[in-house]
Subunit: 105 residues, 2 copies
């Protein structure tokens, strides 16, 4: 019977990887904390989404900055946050969507 | 034997939905054309990636704009491109990463 349960659990875990499962809540909180510690210059980080896909973790979030900030400057913040996230989670593939303050979605 | 092949094909198709399969090349080209027609103000669109997940299609790409463009203005272009893509493909969930001209990745 134990073997049956082990089989079910293994199957569930591997299906999770196929079915766009997010990371566990504790892991998400750890990543949020890393991002918040490194977001100087930006106003807000929101809509953090993660999904496991085999060995990789795809992560994306929205970064809110002042509307008049030049794209060059916003992108420098993106690069820093991307590096931070990849340090916290080496298998992360990061996509950041930048939003002006007045239109955060 | 035919039934067997049909079964294999059905399985392959449904697995494709689970395994981050991109859209067919012809469909990708159609979306590229729509995006290029609506990208006024931007310099380049690249790294278009799509994946089916059940009924939805997740699409993301990089949008290159002049580095000194304000984020507000770049985001207005994003909104327009997002609407264009959703018109061409109503089930699309779109994520755009904006890059300054000098650092297109």
């Amino acid at each position: 019977l134990n073997i049956l349960w082990m089989g079910v659990r293994l199957l569930r875990e591997s299906m999770g990887g196929l079915m766009d499962e997010a990371l566990p809540a504790a892991e998400l909180e750890r990543l949020q904390a890393c991002l918040h510690a490194a977001m100087a210059g930006a106003i807000q980080i929101h809509a953090l989404k993660t999904r496991r896909a085999g060995r990789l973790v795809f992560a994306e979030f929205h970064l809110v900055v002042p509307g008049e900030m030049p794209v060059r400057e916003a992108h420098a913040i993106c690069d820093r946050l991307e590096a931070t996230l990849q340090q916290a989670l080496p298998t992360a593939v990061v996509t950041i969507h930048v939003e002006p303050e007045t239109q955060a979605e």
